[in-house]
C-alpha cells in the first residue's frame, strides 16, 4: 500500500496538522508572555497548512493515490488496526483547503482583536491545537485515529469556550457542549467498534472498497453503526434538541465563534459524508438524518427570524443550515451537502467576523419604499414563474428529473427561494426595469446553483459512495416530504410575519424563546453541574 512514489501527497497532508501540533506545545505561561510572537507563529503555520492544501489539491488532480500508513498496530478482537495515516480524496483536499483558509483568516483577525488581553498567548495555543485536531480529523485514514481527533477537537475547543472562565454563562455553555460532545463520542466509538468487528478493518479506504462491493442488505451491526453515526453527527452539528450550546457560546471571543461555526460544527456532516459507503446502504439511517435535519431546519430558521441580537441570530442560522446539510445527506445528495458545507463555512466565518458592522446598516440614510404588502395571487404567480425557470434551467444543465428525484426536491427549494427575490422586488420597486433585473438575478442564482452542483458532483466522484437501491425506498417519501416542508416554511413565515391572531402571537413568543428546550436543559444542568456563581465585579485593573 505504501509505494514511495505515490506516498508524497498523503505524507505531505499529514504534515499539515503535525506542524500545528508542534506549535501548540508551547506552555500557556510562556505563550502569554509573547503574544505577538505566538500570533505570528500561528498565522505562519496556518498559511503553511493552507499552502500544503493547495499543493495537495494540485497534485491530487494528477495522482489519485489515496491511502497511506505511517504506523499501524493491530487491535485485539479482530476489529482491525489503529493506524496513523492519511486518506486523500477530493473530500479531504477540499476540507483541508477550507479549514486551513478559515484558520488563516481567524488567526490574522485575532492578532489585533485580542491585543492587550493577558491571555492572548493562551488563546493562540489552544487555537493552534484546535486547528491541529480538526485537520487531523480531516486527513486521517483510520476510523480510530479519526475518532481520537474528533474527541481532541472537542476538548481543545472546550479550552477556547472557557477562555473567559470567570463568566458563569461561558462556563454553563461549555458544560452543555461538553456533555453533548461526550455522548456523541460514545456513539461514535460504539459505531466504530461495530464497524470494526463486522468488517475487520478501520481503514477508510478498505471500508469503501468492501462496502462498494457489498450487494443486498447490510448486516444488522452496520445498520446499528450507521444509526449511531447519525446520532453522533446530530450531536456535533447542534441539531434539535441538542442545539442549546451552540446558541450560547457567544461568551467566547468572536474569532472562536467564527472558527466554531465555520470549521468545527460541520464536522458532523463531514463524518456522514466520510461514512457514505456505509450510510448509503442504510435507508433507516438516511431517513433518520433527513427527518432530524428537516425538524431542525424548520424550527431553527423560524426561530432565527425572531431573534434580536446579531450573534444569537447567526447561531440559530447555523443550526438551521446544519439541519439542511444533514437533510441533503439524508437524501443521498452528498455533493450538495458538501457544497453547502463549504459555502456555509465561508459565509458564516465572514458573518461572525463582520458582526461588529451590524449597526452600519442603521447609519445609512433611511430610504422608505411604499410597500404594497404581499398579495395572495402574487405568491402563487411568483412560485409558478420560479418553478418554470428552475425546471428550464435545470433541464438545460442536463438534469433528468425522473431519474434524480433528489434533484426535484432540491429544485423545488431553489424555486421557492428565487420566488422570494421576485416577490420582494415587486413589493418595493414595482417598475419594469427593476423587475427585469430581479428576474435576471433569479435566473443567475438558479444557474449558479445547478452549475455548482454539477461541479461538486464531479469533484466528489471519488470520495462518496452513491445511494444504494436497497436504501432508496424511503426517498419516495422523503422527497415529497421535503417539498411539503419548504412550502410549509414559506407559509409559516408569512403567517408569523403578517397574520393577526392570538395563535400567531403565541407562536411568535414560543419561537422567540427558542421553544424552551434549552431553558429546561439549563435548569437540569445547573443542578448536576452548576457554573460557579460569581457576582459581577469590576473587571478593573487586569494587570
Amino acid at each position: 500500500m505504501t509505494s514511495t512514489a505515490s506516498s508524497f501527497i498523503p505524507a505531505l497532508v499529514l504534515l499539515a496538522p503535525a506542524l500545528l501540533w508542534l506549535g501548540g506545545l508551547m506552555p500557556s505561561g510562556s505563550a502569554n508572555a509573547r503574544p505577538l510572537r505566538m500570533a505570528r507563529l500561528n498565522e505562519a503555520a496556518a498559511w503553511l497548512t493552507f499552502t500544503i492544501g493547495v499543493i495537495a489539491a494540485v497534485a491530487h488532480l494528477f495522482d489519485a493515490s489515496k491511502a497511506w500508513r505511517l504506523y499501524s498496530v493491530p487491535l485485539p478482537g479482530g476489529i482491525g488496526a489503529f493506524s496513523i495515516g492519511t486518506y486523500v480524496t477530493s473530500l479531504t483536499v477540499i476540507m483541508l483547503l477550507l479549514v486551513s483558509f478559515v484558520g488563516v483568516i481567524v488567526s490574522r483577525y485575532a492578532r489585533n482583536y485580542l491585543d492587550g488581553d493577558p491571555n492572548q498567548g493562551r488563546f493562540y495555543k489552544w487555537f493552534t491545537l484546535t486547528l491541529a485536531s480538526i485537520l487531523t480529523l480531516i486527513v486521517s485514514g483510520n476510523l480510530l485515529m479519526f475518532s481520537m481527533a474528533w474527541i481532541a477537537t472537542s476538548l481543545c475547543l472546550h479550552q477556547l469556550l472557557m477562555f473567559y472562565q470567570e463568566r458563569p454563562a461561558a462556563v454553563l455553555a461549555a458544560h452543555k457542549k461538553f456533555i453533548a460532545s461526550r455522548i456523541g463520542d460514545a456513539c461514535l466509538l460504539l459505531a466504530i467498534f461495530l464497524i470494526g468487528s463486522t468488517l475487520h478493518t478501520l481503514e477508510f479506504s478498505e471500508i469503501f472498497e468492501r462496502m462498494a462491493a457489498m450487494d443486498g442488505a447490510m448486516p444488522l451491526s452496520l445498520q446499528a453503526a450507521s444509526l449511531l453515526v447519525v446520532l453522533s453527527a446530530a450531536l456535533k452539528s447542534a441539531q434539535f434538541p441538542f442545539h442549546g450550546w451552540l446558541i450560547q457560546v457567544m461568551e467566547a471571543p468572536t474569532p472562536v465563534s467564527a472558527l466554531l461555526h465555520a470549521g468545527i460544527v460541520n464536522a458532523g456532516a463531514f463524518l456522514v459524508i466520510r461514512m457514505s459507503p456505509i450510510m448509503s446502504h442504510s435507508g433507516a439511517a438516511l431517513a433518520a438524518l433527513a427527518v432530524i435535519g428537516l425538524v431542525t431546519l424548520t424550527l431553527a430558521s423560524l426561530v432565527m427570524l425572531t431573534q434580536t441580537s446579531i450573534k444569537v441570530s447567526l447561531a440559530w442560522s447555523t443550526t438551521a443550515q446544519m439541519g439542511f446539510m444533514l437533510l441533503e445527506c439524508g437524501l443521498g445528495a452528498y455533493s450538495l451537502a458538501m457544497l453547502h458545507l463549504v459555502a456555509h463555512s465561508l459565509y458564516k466565518a465572514h458573518a461572525f467576523l463582520a458582526s461588529g458592522s451590524g449597526a452600519d446598516a442603521f447609519r445609512a440614510p433611511v430610504v422608505r419604499y411604499d410597500s404594497k404588502g404581499p398579495k395572495s395571487g402574487g405568491l402563487l404567480f411568483a412560485l409558478i414563474v420560479a418553478g418554470g425557470m428552475t425546471a428550464a434551467i435545470g433541464t438545460a444543465f442536463g438534469v433528468t428529473w425522473q431519474q434524480q428525484p433528489t434533484l426535484i426536491a432540491a429544485g423545488a427549494i431553489v424555486a421557492i427561494a428565487i420566488s422570494q427575490i421576485m416577490l420582494q422586488t415587486a413589493d418595493i420597486l414595482y417598475q419594469p426595469a427593476p423587475m427585469l433585473r430581479a428576474i435576471g438575478l433569479s435566473a443567475l442564482v438558479c444557474a449558479a446553483y445547478f452549475l455548482l452542483h454539477q461541479m461538486f458532483e464531479r469533484i466528489l466522484n471519488d470520495s462518496v459512495l452513491p445511494l444504494r437501491d436497497t436504501a432508496s425506498a424511503a426517498q419516495d417519501i422523503l422527497v415529497p416530504l421535503t417539498i411539503a416542508v419548504f412550502v410549509g416554511l414559506l407559509l409559516m413565515q408569512q403567517f408569523v410575519k403578517a397574520a393577526r391572531s392570538s395563535l400567531r402571537d403565541t407562536l411568535y413568543l414560543h419561537l422567540y424563546n427558542g421553544l424552551y428546550i434549552d431553558v429546561y436543559i439549563t435548569r437540569l444542568l445547573q443542578r448536576v453541574w452548576p457554573a460557579p456563581h460569581q457576582p459581577a465585579k469590576t473587571p478593573g485593573a487586569r494587570s
Binding site: I105, N112, D115, D117, A169, A170, A173, I247, M250, E251, L297, L305, T308, S309, I310, K311, V312, S313, A320, Q321, L336, H340, A343, H344, H350, L353, S357, G358, A359, D360, A361, R363, P365, V366, V367, A417, I418, Q420, I421, T425, I428, P434, V445, L452, F486, L489, L490, M492, Q493, D505, H510, Y512, N513, Y516, V519, R523, P530, T538, P539, G540
Partner: protein, 839 residues
Amino acid sequence: MNMSETILAKESAALLDRRIDAACTRIAPLWPLKHFVAVNPFFGLRDHSFQDASDILARVVGTSLYMPRAYFREQFACGRIKREDIEQALERCGSQLDAAAVEHALATEAPQPKMGMASVSEVLDRVEGGIWTAFVTERISLHCAAYFDLGQAVVGMPWRSLSLYASWRKAAAIDRSPAMMGLGDFRAAVARLPAEPRAAIARALEELGVPDAAVERYLHAALLSIGGWAAWARYLSWQAELNGQRDDSIVDLLAIRVMWDVLLFREKSDAALVARWREMLAASMRPPSAKRQAAAEIDRILLNAMEIGFQRGVIAGLGNPAMAAPAARPAVQAAFCIDVRSEVFRRSLETVAPSAQTIGFAGFFGIFIEHVPIGASAGRSHVPVIFRPAYRIHDRVTGLDAETVIEQRRRRVGFSKVWKGFKLSAASCFSFVETAGLTYGPKLLTDSLGWSRPVPDPNSQGIAGRDLNRIGPSLEAVATAQCGTHDAASGIPEADRAGQAERILRAMAMTGNFARLVLLAGHGSTTVNNPHSTALDCGACAGQTGEASARVVAALMNDPVTRRGLRERGIAIPEDTWFLAGLHDTTTDEVRLYDTDDVPDTLSLDMAQLRQWLEQAGDLSRMERSALLGLAHLPDHGVEANVRQRSRDWSQVRPEWALANNAAFIAAPRARTSGMDLGGRSFLHEYVWQADDGFKILELIMTAPMVVANWINMQYYGSVVDNSRFGSGNKVLHNIVGGAIGVLEGNGGDLRVGLPMQSLHDGKRWVHEPLRLSVFIEAPQAAMDEIIDRHDLVRQLVENDWLHLFCIGDDGNTYRRVGRANWQPTGGPASRGAGRNGQ
C-alpha cells in the same frame, strides 16, 4: 372609605408618583449606536454633591465613585501623586488628617463594598444558590430587545403598539420559561397583576414591606439592576421631552422589574427568604459606618490629590503665556472642534505654520441643522443632543442629473434590501448559502487584508464613486420631488442668513482681521466593523461627523447675501476671504477638504500652501500619537501606513484612543495656551471676554460646551471606575442588539452602556486617568457667578464638585471657585513656571 382616608390615599399616591419619577430621573440616557454620544452616567445625581452621590451609589449598588485603593497606591508609588499634592488636597478638602495618615491609609485596604440594596432575586440567589438574578435580567432584557427592536428581527413582536408594561403582561401570560424554571403559577399570577404600572409598583412596595425611607433607594436599585434598558428607556423619554411629548417606558420597565420581585417573593415565600429579605432591608437603612466614612474621606483626598497634580501643570502654563502679538493678517485661519483630539492637531499646525491662526469652537459650528442625505426619506440631527435642529438641509447634486442619482440610489438600496431578504428569510436562506456562499471566500481574504470593507459604507451606499464629489449639502430649499420628503421648508432662508452668520462669528470671536482662507474643520473617524464607531465622531453633531455642519457654515459665510448683511451688522469680511469646509479624520489625522472646485482661482497658491501645512501637521500629530498606539518604534512613513491600516482593519479594537485622558476645558484666547503642550487632554474653546457684550457668549459656553465636556469626562470617569455598571465591558464579546440600539456582552444579559474596556485600558494599564474635569475660563469672576446663579444645571455641576472651575485673570493668575461665589488664588508665583509642560 371616608373623606380623610381618600385624601390620605391620594396624598400617598402623589408621594409615590414623585418617588417613582425621582428614581427614574436618576438614570442617565443611552443614545443608540447609530449616533452614540457621550453621556454623564451620573447626570441624574447632579443635584447631590459628588461625595453624596458616591455614598448613595454605595448604599444602592455597593460600589462607590472612587477608584480602588490599589490604583491610588500605584499612582503614589510611581510619583504621579506627590506628597505636596496630598498636602494641598487635605487643605482643599478641609480635612483634619495629615499627609502621613493618608499615606498610611494608602497602604491599607479599603473596607469591602457592602451588598447595597439587593433585589428579591439577589437575596434568593444567596438563599438558594440559584441563578435567579441572571434569569430575571435575561427575561426582561429579551423582552425589551424585542419590544424596542429597531430592525434586527425579521419578525417583530406583536405587542409593540401597547405600552411596555402592557406588552410584558401579554407576553408573560404566554411565556413558559418561568414554569420551566419551577415557577409553576407564574402565568396565572401575571394575569392577576394590576393593569397600571404605578399601581403595580405600589402593590409591590406593600407586599415586599419596603419601609417608607427605603422606597426611593429600592426603586433606584431596581432600575439599576436592569440599568442598560433603563438608560434606553430614559433616552426615549429624553427624546420625547425634546419634542414636547412624553414617554413613560421607564416607569413600565420599573414596574416589570419589581413585579418579578413580587412574583418570586410570592412563589418562593419560604421562611429563609423572608428572613434574609427583612435582614437586607434593615441593613440598608443603616447609614454608612464611621469606618466607611473615614475610608471615603481618604478616597476623596486621593482623587483631589491626583487632580491637583494635573492642575498644577496647567496653571503654571497659563501663567506664562506665549502671548505673541497677533500677526497683521494670518496666512490662514483654521477653526477646529473643541474636542481634545483637535488640541494635538492645532498645536502641530501652529508648529509647521507659525503664521496660521487656529480657533477652537464646538464642532457643529453653531448652526442648528438636520441633514437629509441624498435620496433619503428622513434627516439626521447635527446639533448637540440638548438642542433641537432649526433648519432642514438637503443635499444637492451639481450637474443636471440629480433625479438620476436619487433614483439610482433608491434602486440600489432597494436591491440590497431584496438581497438581504433572500439571505435572511426562512425559506430562502439555504439557497442563498449554496449559490452565493462561495463568494465570501475571496471577500474574507480582501477584508482581512484591509482592501475592502466588510459591509458597504453607510454614507456612500448606493452612490456611484464618480458621483460622490458632486454631492453636498445646500443652503437652498430643494424641490420636494427631488428629496422624497414632503417638507417644503428646507434650506436656510435668505432673510435668516446674515443673522445666523453674525451670531456664529461673534461666538467664535472672529469679527475682523480675516485671513484669505478660513478653514472650518469638523471631525470624524474612520473605522470599520466597530459597533461604537459613532462614539468616535463629533458629539456636538449628535454623533455624526462634522462634515455637513462645516460645509453648511462655509457655504453660509461665502454666500453674497450673507456677506452683504454682515457688512450692515458691522462685520466686514474682505472680498478675497474664502471659507473652506474640511473634516479632520481623528483616526488618521488627515484633513479632507470639501467643495474645493468652488474656491476662487486667485487663492490657488494659498490652497496649495494650506494643503502642504495640513499634511505636515498630520505627520506631526501622528508622531505624537504613535507612542500611545504602540508605534513609537516605527519611522514616519511606517506610522502613517500603520494608522491608515488601522482605520481599515476589521479586527482592530483600538483604532484610536479618542478622548481618553481628557481632563481640562479651557475657554480663553488661543494666545493664552498657544505655548503649552496640553498633551491632547484639554478641550479648547476660543473666548475673548472683552468682546462679549453682556456675557451672552460666556453664558452659552458655560451652559452648552462646558456641560458637554462634563458629559464626556464623566462618561470616561464612570466607565473606568465601575465598568461593569457604567461601561460596556469587553469589546471582543460585544453582540449588537436591536439592530442599532446597543450591545450585549456575550449571549445576553442587560444592555450595556458607556465605553468598552478596550477604549480605556491597553491591557497593562488604564490609559484614561479618571479625573474630574478642570475648567479654566478667562472671564471676570462676577460674570461667571451671575451665570452660575441663573442656571441650576451649571450651579449643580460647579457647586456639587462634578467639576473644578477656575478663573484666569488678565494677569494669568488663576483662581479656584470654592463654595458659593468665593474665588481663591491658586498658589501664586511660587508654583509658577515650575511645571511648564513639555516646553
